[in-house]
Symmetry: C2
């Protein structure tokens, strides 16, 4: 699939219902096409699931977009139906995202370790030839494979569940007829709702401590983790991190990363809102990419910190894990720096009515 919006833009549609129905019908169709491939043929051996990584990706893509549209344009739908649908979509999203997440994390961490331990004359790393490197690699690979296998098993158990069948029925309904609250509402009524999604992002983006990462190598990802953010205002996603209290590195890092992870959710919502309206969102796609790198490096660093607490590892293994942990926190810092360089160019385009008008 391409990223081009699949709906008729707002300008050419008569009613908000037509615009939303066009978008959701297309996404629900993509969901229903991807589902059998992702779940596998009926009767195929369970171990072979999911049959297609591409189908799983397409499924995730559709799940995110339908969920985002139901959130941003919630007032346009039958409230109970929209709420239930979002809950079920979030359940499937969490289920589907686990395994590819562990896959990407393994690729990232083993790649970083191999690069740090590279001994070739033209590209040696700071752990070149270190005795702990193969042991640390084996440890990370073992732990990530185990986590991935568990996620896969959990997915298998749910992919043929009654709950998934009910969600598929819900999407079949959506592909035919979207349950709208006020079908005759003019299309322009969508614009303030999309604008609100952009405003939520701009508000969260301006509160991000990206000025702390405005200078390269400020060490913000290693030293000087910031204070926990003030409580998010109403309308922000519910996942507000707890205020930092414990003198604990994991908690400090999680609290430091939380506003950035929340910003990514808002970027995605804003992207899909613009897609519904048929407005261009290239800058948001780039921000999403930067924040994806931030999140993956943050998750990878946490995995390494956990691995370093494995009992009975050798000091050499622990030392290598320390280097890899710092390396991934450096990636976190690098992503924040990149965000700080992109944000001032993207943010002004998200404010005002022009931002949500179709191209």
């Amino acid at each position: 699939m391409t990223d081009a919006p699949t709906t008729a833009p707002v300008a050419r549609a008569a009613t908000a219902g037509e615009v939303l129905a066009g978008y959701l019908t297309a996404q629900a169709g993509a969901f229903l096409r991807a589902l059998p491939q992702a779940v596998g043929e009926a009767g195929s051996r369970p171990g072979a699931l999911p049959a297609s990584a591409q189908a799983a990706d397409d499924l995730l893509r559709a799940v995110r977009r339908v969920g985002g549209a139901l959130h941003t344009f919630a007032a346009a739908f039958d409230p109970q139906w929209a709420q239930e649908s979002r809950t079920e979509l979030r359940w499937l999203l969490n289920l589907l995202a686990q395994e590819p997440g562990y896959q990407r994390r393994a690729t990232r961490l083993l790649g970083a370790l191999d690069s740090l331990a590279d001994t070739s004359p033209d590209g040696a790393g700071m752990l070149a030839g270190h005795a702990g490197a193969p042991k640390a690699r084996a440890l990370l690979e073992r732990q990530l494979t185990l986590a991935r296998t568990r996620a896969h098993t959990a997915l298998l158990q749910e992919l043929r569940s009654a709950r998934l069948h009910a969600l598929a029925d819900r999407m079949t309904l959506l592909a035919g007829e979207v349950p709208l609250a006020a079908p005759a509402e003019p299309a322009a009524a969508l614009l303030p709702r999309a604008a609100a999604a952009l405003a939520a992002l701009v508000g969260a983006g301006e509160r991000l401590p990206w000025q702390r990462s405005a200078q390269a190598y400020g060490g913000a990802g290693l030293h000087r983790l910031g204070p926990a953010e003030p409580a998010a205002p109403a309308g922000a996603p519910a996942a507000v991190p707890p205020a930092r209290t414990a003198a604990d590195a994991d908690a400090a890092l999680a609290a430091d990363d939380a506003p950035w992870l929340r910003a990514r959710i808002l970027v995605k919502r804003a992207r899909y809102a613009l897609e519904v309206c048929g407005a261009p969102g290239e800058g948001l796609r780039e921000l999403d990419g930067v924040l994806a790198r931030h999140q993956e490096a943050s998750d990878a660093a946490a995995t390494v910190a956990t691995a370093a607490r494995t009992p009975r590892i050798t000091p050499a293994t622990a030392y290598v894990l320390g280097v890899v942990h710092a390396d991934q926190r450096l990636e976190v810092e690098s992503a924040r720096y990149a965000f700080g360089r992109q944000w001032p160019a993207v943010a002004p385009g998200l404010v005002g009515p022009a931002a949500v008008l179709p191209a």
Copy 2:
């Protein structure tokens, strides 16, 4: 002391001998004033040496400047005397630089560790509250204190040696009468020699792989250490690093850092050559500062890597040392990035006759 040149500039002096004698007399005088304080009063207890850190700094300052002038303007002096003097000054330089070097390294490493392990809510580090942090701190402190004590003892043994007395006599001679090869040579004859020192720096600077660090967070200090540099051309300092062969991280890092350490020697020589001529050298002073940071971080990282090989440390200690090692290599990378941002502004001013003309 200030950094203002203490000689009459080239333009106002009649002969090269007058310019050099003016500079060297002032520096030898500074040497002789600082020496008794650095060595301590005759009869004071040996344990109290050196009596004054400021005096030791002043002594180092004078030693570097006299040595630099004797190197750059070698042709102006009696060759055997100049060669012998440089050998003796280098001996004293190595002796004097050890202890403050360990002092600075301890300040840097313990400061970095304290910052990484900081648990305060507004500035927690990625090792906040980590069980290995106090152990790693104690280990580094113990090893650096031991190294510092050894350097101190070695200094004490030599500070009242016949060799030092002979060097002091040499400086006394220099403060009175500089043994010049051709005292009547015109002052302008110094300019091509100073220009050669600048050209050596420009050549080495252009060969530095700073383009590899032109992008922030390129990871050059952790990943992708470069190949050993091609052999330096004639005229470059003798300390050419051996070509990288061993699949060994320490060797790879040392080879990666070597061209930068060499560049710092050339920056200092160029600075002192401009000082002799009374020409401004502000840009070089800044480059020297950046390369000093590079060298100190590189040395600190090597100290941590060595400490991590201490037998019977706990995995938690080793993990913390891995983080600190990566942190210091990040500082190395940061210094290279800073160099790459300064060099294009400084280098053009070092080329051509205007560079060495007095202000």
